[in-house]
Symmetry: C2
Subunit: 305 residues, 2 copies
């Protein structure tokens, strides 16, 4: 599981930061999370590739998270994309995009399946063989949900020596990997625990932008390996954070601490800050394993548990 | 009259070029022409200022000319803009923008007056004390009009020595600047030509993107001081230019030559070209006074007539 940060700025196009967007890669599946204006340029600048994107997840319909979507969708038509696309978002996006498609006379070369979700529910909204994606209700000025990516449980690792020892038919391996015991020709049963070792832990990543600090978020993201939590402001502007339903870096760290996550990533920095040095200092006072995201960085999600 | 090139690329976000947008400044009036995705970032990058924009002119509703508009309009709300805004465009833009405003819950802090124009007519669509703006029907795949900026006729320059010689009342000066003769107390009439010198020529700038070569365009832009004409392709791709209702650099130069303009600017370069060297060579073979625009450049319109 690997994250690419395309944009981590809030509000205006200041301080060289771009609007929110990330790519989440799970094995050969690529997901786009949020799509602020300029996202397609950022993908191009960072040479991320985008052809494998089949699902897009939008947290909410504020411009800095969604105004780049129509340009991306149109760009894919110019490239003659034919693969279906699913877009998950709070309600309203379908009407907006379809109006633009109509007004601008865009001839879609692929099918878009709009999945409008209830931002107040913590639900499984998508899964494939590798990953589940859950909605995470956020506390913002408009319907807004974070997205929680959980790798599907991984198969157990079969001990190679045991395959030889018991001359295991390869057709039985998928069952053994999923936990089956082995019944030998003479009727004896070899317990799975003798044949396999546990898989590595399934990784999890929660993307929470934009939100005021929320107990609900803490419950939904409990124990995730990596939490991206918005940190628009520093302590100095805590009143403004409250008014605008955003968080300070310290509040984000408090969420991370209470939720017992592995690592905290900060982003969605207000344009008033030239750099996130102060954010980092304030957050680390509460939760040491905190990182301030940088645009263009590509990092694997790791488990520290 | 001064032009700022914010973006001069076509199609995808390639070769470091951005989508089409320009600022046209006439004395203290600032006009935005087209607004592709990323225009607000380009304004910020080039520190152009944008607070004085009261009119926006959109050539057509293809994404690379208009998808940056909603972000700009929203950004102005964050800055608490209160000045009215007029937006001139072919039909459909109002429905698109109003749907986005509704879906995204944008609370406009200022009034927008949508002026949807008939892209098939060469009409005066706007004027103030300093400038007129005319629509220029273009030949593209969708309703599309260029924009022709003409400075209003300038006042004649009163010869200072004549003011003293005839003890001219300062209240008579506006009339004299606009061409009135002077009647002296004794009834003698001093002809205006003795009192004034002609003003400099009013400057004109025509912005024509996107279009196939067009006789209609030649008629509309005849004799302008500066013509910006799209030059998406080079000779090598003339067939593609024809299919897509775009122009080659040579065709743009042919329009400039036949229209007898002063200077030709090229832009809207396809992403397949790393630089416009070939465009320039092919255009200058037809029309010597040709310039390939660069993003970020700011140039005064000059008359060579």
């Amino acid at each position: 599981m690997q994250i690419t940060v395309l944009g981590n700025g809030a509000g205006g196009p200041y301080s060289g930061r771009h609007y929110t967007a990330q790519l989440v890669q799970v094995e050969n599946h690529l997901f786009l999370v949020d799509c602020g204006e300029g996202t397609q340029m950022q993908m191009h600048a960072f040479r991320t590739g985008q052809d494998r994107i089949r699902q897009v997840f939008i947290t909410h319909l504020h411009g800095d998270h969604v105004f780049g979507l129509i340009g991306l969708l149109t760009g894919w038509c110019l490239k003659k994309r034919s693969d279906d696309l699913q877009i998950f978002s709070p309600p309203g996006l379908q009407r907006m995009i379809e109006t633009m498609i109509d007004v601008c006379g865009i001839r879609l070369t692929y099918h878009i399946d709009f999945q409008e979700v209830d931002a107040n529910q913590h639900c499984l909204v998508f899964e494939n063989k590798k990953v589940q994606v859950w909605s995470v209700p956020l506390r913002h000025r408009t319907a807004c949900c974070g997205w929680l990516f959980r790798e599907q449980p991984l198969p157990r690792n079969v001990i190679k020596a045991k395959i030889d020892e018991y001359a295991i038919d390869y057709r039985l391996l998928p069952g053994i990997k999923s936990g089956d015991d082995l019944t030998l020709p003479d009727g004896r049963v070899v317990p799975n625990a003798e044949l396999t070792t546990p898989p590595r832990k399934s990784l999890s990543y929660a993307f929470c932008s934009d939100t005021a600090p929320s107990d609900g978020v803490i419950e939904c993201v409990r124990g995730v390996d990596l939490l991206y939590h918005e940190a628009t402001f520093t302590d100095e502007h805590v009143a403004e954070a409250e008014l605008s339903y955003h968080s300070t870096a310290r509040q984000a760290a408090e969420v991370a601490r209470q939720a017992g996550v592995g690592t905290l990533w900060l982003g969605h920095f207000s344009g008033r800050y030239a750099d996130p040095t102060q954010h980092l200092a304030e957050a680390r006072a509460v939760f040491a394993n905190t990182h301030a995201t940088e645009e263009g960085e590509v990092r694997a999600v790791e488990s520290i548990f």
